[in-house]
């Protein structure tokens, strides 16, 4: 496999509705931004790009089959190769990885990944119905198909198993809405308190409206290139481009139906799912104790797909200690609860510790005042967690940026690229969210009830 660089990206404004543009024209906004940021004009880029991958989740939302080719056509990329990928909420993450494969394999030197979703074309409740069609339509959907309900059942079990509290979930909402204040691309910035989150209308107990992301219209685009492709782009641009490479990718899957998720033994977990960073006598004892008290893995409280995606990506990127070897994470926080579940899958903390991890301040930005007091909670238990230890969703995540499904995973790649380039100030017109000395970031894209999950590691080349 060849080294693959992420060289440029663009994101359209995410909004509740973008009736002023058709979907190809919304993608064009993101594409133009990415090309302009390279210092190129479309005809120059058109000459150098070898192919594309298109990302959108739902043919129901689009009500246009082969929407991918309409974008390829509108962008002026015909007759170059291209195809569409689909994998629920992880569609954008899968698109990024397929573009990576295209370049890594030598099929292309410069590959464009673009994605969109236009969810405003039906009302919110019909939109929820469309999304719920991504659950088994014989056994799950007819019972009351509603993704917020599915995630609420997961977190109810998480609370039961681990003592996670709704207030810990609310910390994630406060963080992501507040981060979004400094991100002009975000749809839903807000200054909230934990009480605001808990007092918002209950959607699916225990999740309130402020625990859940919103529907969006929007698009994102990313340019990936090989060493040769990068050289060609640099020659055309007349300047050296920052080196941000993809250090490793990983992907995992799990059963479509939540009900079918296994309840594995401790031994199977150790063999298949334990991260190298967890392979200590102390953590083995911690997990053994969980199993002795009836914990089973993954059950409905944990995402095995997210764990396996992380494990594969870390192994390929040479990450032994994710908490300390990754500088920030953009992860798929469709729900505050899924952000907490994902901390655990990604090994930022152990299974069961996601709630205290959120409330410790560790995933918050170090330089922003959230109006929260971070408990020096059982300081003796978690002595190494401190505010800003590993910012998660510095952009505001899905909860505050919006979640136009096919664009989301690519949006994460763009924001991660800008972090690693050190260009957040340029793109956001505010450098509050720019992390100092960010060298390595992880992006995490997640589908269904944890059915497809992708993790990709981006790294600044020194």
């Amino acid at each position: 496999m060849r080294t693959v660089y992420v060289v440029s990206g663009g994101v359209s404004k995410f909004a509740k509705a973008r009736p002023n543009r058709t979907f190809p024209a919304i993608v064009k906004e993101a594409y133009d931004y990415a090309v302009t940021d390279l210092g190129l004009e479309h005809p120059q880029f058109q000459e150098l790009v070898d192919g594309s991958v298109a990302s959108y989740f739902s043919d129901h939302f689009a009500r246009q089959l082969m929407a991918g080719i309409m974008i390829q056509d509108y962008l002026g990329l015909c007759p170059k190769p291209g195809h569409r990928v689909e994998g629920g909420g992880a569609t954008g993450g899968i698109c990024f990885q397929e573009a990576w494969k295209s370049v890594a394999s030598g099929d292309t030197d410069v590959c464009l990944a673009y994605g969109f979703e236009t969810m405003s074309h039906v009302n919110t409740w019909k939109g929820n119905e469309f999304i719920a069609l991504a659950s088994d339509i014989s056994f799950d959907y007819p019972v009351g198909g509603f993704y917020s309900g599915y995630y609420a059942m997961m977190v109810t079990r998480h609370m039961q198993e681990f003592g996670t509290t709704p207030e810990q979930l609310a910390h994630v909402s406060v963080k992501n809405h507040m981060n979004a204040f400094y991100n002009p691309y975000s749809q839903n910035p807000a200054r909230l308190t934990v009480a605001d989150v808990r007092q918002a209308p209950m959607v699916a107990w225990p999740l309130t409206r402020l625990d859940i992301c919103v529907m969006s219209d929007g698009a994102a685009a990313v340019v990936l290139a090989s060493e040769e492709g990068l050289t060609k782009l640099e020659q055309a641009a007349g300047r050296r481009l920052p080196r941000v490479k993809v250090a490793g990718i990983g992907r995992g899957t799990d059963a479509m139906r939540l009900a079918d998720r296994p309840h594995q033994s401790y031994e199977t977990f150790l063999k298949q799912n334990l991260l190298p960073s967890e392979d200590t006598a102390e953590t083995r004892a911690y997990y053994k104790n969980l199993w002795d008290h009836g914990f089973r893995y993954p059950g409905v409280h944990s995402f095995r797909a997210g764990r396996m995606a992380s494990k594969q990506a870390y192994a390929r990127a040479g990450i032994a200690d994710p908490l300390h070897q990754i500088d920030f994470v953009e992860l798929h926080d469709a729900y505050t609860s899924s952000e907490i579940q994902t901390y655990e899958d990604m090994g930022l903390c152990r299974y069961g510790e996601g709630g205290p991890f959120a409330a410790s301040g560790a995933p918050f930005m170090p330089n922003i005042d959230y109006g929260l007091t971070f408990d020096p909670i059982p300081n003796t238990q978690y002595p190494k967690w401190r505010k800003g230890l590993i910012p998660v969703n510095p952009s505001g995540g899905l909860i505050a940026c919006g979640h136009p499904v096919g664009a989301t995973g690519l949006m994460q790649a763009v924001f991660a690229l800008w972090q690693l380039q050190g260009t957040i100030g340029k793109h956001f017109h505010d450098d509050t969210l720019q992390l100092k000395n960010a060298c390595r970031g992880a992006i995490h894209s997640h589908a269904g009830t944890g059915t497809y999950v992708t993790v990709s590691i981006l790294e600044k080349e020194m």
Binding site: P142, F146, S148, M202, D260
Partner: protein, 188 residues
């Protein structure tokens, strides 16, 4: 950003006005043509309804069972691994599963939620309780509706609650032909 106690915003609806024309420049010239780029979008409603012919395929006996007051799961013939939500083939052995009757087994709430909102199809039924049910001797769960509890009194003490199952007499051939109710009241 405290939510007001009473709604201060009307929900959006899909019914618009019937409209046969919109303003347009009386004369087209360079200036009016350029101004068209600033025109507000025309948004039209396009009804979209279908009848879809869905087959339950190899899962059909499950629905026939519900219509006849039986809850069927499936089981790997060798390992005995039992699926409370049936599947035609076992995920470990790859072998075709056998049908197994779960109707009389002890059932408990594994986890639940109360949906105060829902997809459009189910919105009129809110609030309703979704629960994943565990059955004695089964390795996987079953998603169903739980009734007979106060939806405003949700609490973790519902987890682990013993439940009974009932069947609709007039089957709709949906998984909701079976539903669950508490055999013990907790949290009151």
């Amino acid at each position: 950003m405290t939510e007001p106690r009473f709604a201060t915003k009307l929900p959006e609806t899909d019914d618009g006005a019937i409209l046969f024309n919109v303003p347009f420049p009386a004369e087209l010239n360079a200036e009016t043509l350029a101004a068209l780029k600033e025109m507000a979008p025309i948004i039209v409603k396009q009804p979209y309804a279908i009848n879809y012919i869905h087959s339950y395929g190899q899962d059909s006996p499950f629905f026939a069972g519900l219509a006849n007051g039986r809850l069927l799961g499936s089981m790997d013939p060798d390992s005995g691994y039992t699926y409370a939500t049936p599947r035609g083939h076992d995920m470990t052995s790859g072998a075709e599963t056998d049908w197994v009757d779960l109707t009389g087994r002890e059932a408990r709430v594994h986890t639940f939620t109360v949906c105060h909102f829902g997809s459009e199809e189910f919105l009129p039924e809110t609030p309703f309780i979704l629960a994943l049910i565990e059955f004695e001797g089964a390795d996987t769960l079953f998603l169903g509706r739980l009734i007979g509890l106060d939806p405003n009194a949700a609490g973790l003490d519902w987890v682990g609650m013993r439940v009974g199952l009932r069947f609709r007499r007039n089957s709709k051939f949906k998984p909701t032909d079976v539903y669950f109710y508490p055999l013990e009241i907790r949290g009151d």
